[in-house]
Symmetry: C2
Subunit: 334 residues, 2 copies
């Protein structure tokens, strides 16, 4: 049996959504126990309301505190019984195989650092979401999506190593192709950071480094892994999210203006559904904190049920494939 701790207090829409997502996910996962971490009464109420889950498939770890979105990173020290802190401790004491939370990003990063620490050789863990791409069944792992403001070339080299192991282990990609996000594809492009990283990746013969890659290739499925620093990664990700949101809503707004277009949209319903499914961020609504000494996922706090189910699936896949130990081995290779 695998065990995953779920900090259900870190949901903007309340713990009920999180519990409902977990129960939905448990439906066809008979080798998994989910440990709900948070307010006992709220969790029990949500379970009773949702029903349809065997008591052998979950546990409740009751906590009395939680860190809300207006909290501070210092709360991980102040609030000993915060659900986020307890969920991380369950990973640290190996009571569970992994955890997820939709809570405060800064507190999550600080908590992971203080409670779990990092894998040998890692100084700055990175957020690694997966992107849908134009290539069927090929997703792109993207990191760092914003755990850090500044990264060194060594950080980015380590990200490539960890993501490569993750891609092989969890996604079953044989020889994952790695790209470095840059302002051009030629050699020697970018800032000092990119120039030095390019050199490190090029020299590491264990990695399948394909060179520099531009941000317009983020969704084309050109590579399996795209590495960048946390500041640039965060900006690129949000530019992408913003653009797809704006474009789809511009189409919608224009459809509403015309009767003919409404009919047309009806005929095109399946097209929009297909495109939405391919590029739906709810299907990619979480990111592993890679480099942390534990399998820990950050989900979007604003997730709906589908979003949390998706992050649960990612956590389960990572746990089931024992990716942490494989990353530890990778980091032990000099």
């Amino acid at each position: 049996m695998y065990k995953i701790a779920f900090d259900v207090m870190g949901s903007d829409l309340g713990p009920k959504i999180a519990v409902q997502a977990a129960i939905k996910f448990l439906e066809n996962k008979k080798d998994l126990i989910i440990v709900f971490v948070g307010d006992k009464n709220q969790i029990e109420a949500a379970i009773n309301e949702t029903g349809n889950v065997s008591t052998t498939q979950y546990e409740i770890f009751p906590t009395t505190e939680f860190i809300d979105m207006h909290g501070s990173i210092l709360d991980v020290k102040r609030k000993k019984d915060a659900s986020l802190v307890r969920a991380l401790e369950l990973v640290q004491t190996k009571k569970v195989d992994g955890m997820l939370t939709g809570g405060h990003s800064g507190a999550f990063l600080a908590g992971s650092h203080f409670i779990l620490g990092e894998l040998d050789g890692i100084i700055r863990p990175g957020f690694m979401p997966t992107f849908p791409t134009m290539v069927k069944d090929r997703v792109t792992l993207f990191l760092d999506a914003g755990a850090n403001n500044d990264n060194t070339p060594e950080d980015l080299h380590n990200y490539a190593k960890l993501a490569s192991t993750y891609s092989k282990t969890v996604l079953g990609v044989k020889n994952p192709e790695i790209g470095l996000l840059n302002v051009g594809t030629e050699k020697g492009k970018g800032r000092e950071l990119q120039k030095l990283t390019e050199k490190l990746l090029d020299e590491d013969k264990h990695l399948n480094f394909k060179g520099n890659i531009e941000a317009r290739e983020m969704l084309t499925g050109t590579v399996d892994i795209m590495v960048t620093d946390g500041f640039t990664g965060n900006v690129a990700l949000k530019a992408m999210e913003g653009t797809s949101k704006i474009l789809l809503s511009a189409i919608k707004a224009n459809v509403m203006k015309s009767f003919m277009a409404k009919i047309g949209a009806l005929f095109m319903k399946n097209v929009f559904k297909e495109v939405k499914t391919t590029f739906d961020y709810k299907e990619h609504a979480g990111a592993i904190l890679i480099g942390a000494n534990g399998i820990v996922f950050k989900a979007h706090g604003s997730n709906d049920i589908q979003g949390f189910v998706s992050t649960l699936r990612m956590t389960y896949d990572a746990v089931q494939n024992d990716v942490l130990n494989k990353m530890k081995k990778e980091m032990a290779i000099k």
Copy 2:
């Protein structure tokens, strides 16, 4: 009469496209003379073929060399008679009021630096394209879109000043709102660069600084001006371009798979046309090099006729509104 030099050799599709675009643009601009800079024979052939232009509306400045896309930035020193070099010289000697080229970006930047130099107080000019936004008739000026790899807080402060003057003068915006591209909207976000820039912008009471802004707001029309460093700007811009291209082509590819959807698309034709017009990069296919001591525009080399017409329009608007002198005055204010 206004005069604009057009380096027609800097067009990936050949000078003919550039000449055709110019002739089209001249149709209803009776106060403008375009100086075609490049290979005389090719220019004359293109004019003869296109016809329909008065000889009082254009001049030819014949050159014997040009810098192609595989050229080097050193070519601006080596090739004295390159069309790009000559077009910049025409600006420097005030034979024309402004110029545009679709040619080699690096050579353009180097040429502008050596031939024109910078406005007082400017060290690193920036590329400033304009974005379409969701707000009708509001475009966002975005800079630096990639003229530099590294920028200082002072550079970004100057960008805000120059763009503000541009927005007022050329676009007629009364009190342009300025945002700083960052990884969050709270104060103190980002790297040292963003933190120090935020402080400078906040303290400058001549500027209407609205604070940090995330990349997902690039198309929402939240501000009139968005400043960032050249590396981040280039990545954000390409992420945006890539996403809109991918989404629209995913819709198209899915439409092609179904007869019903094809019918639907027909009914929705006007919707797609409207969205395409709003977000069409061909309508925004060029960028001024702001901070250069002259009105100089870089068009995409891959532009079609419409793309070059759009950049010509931007150049004409800048020239006609005497924006260079207004920026000089702005930079003279301490």
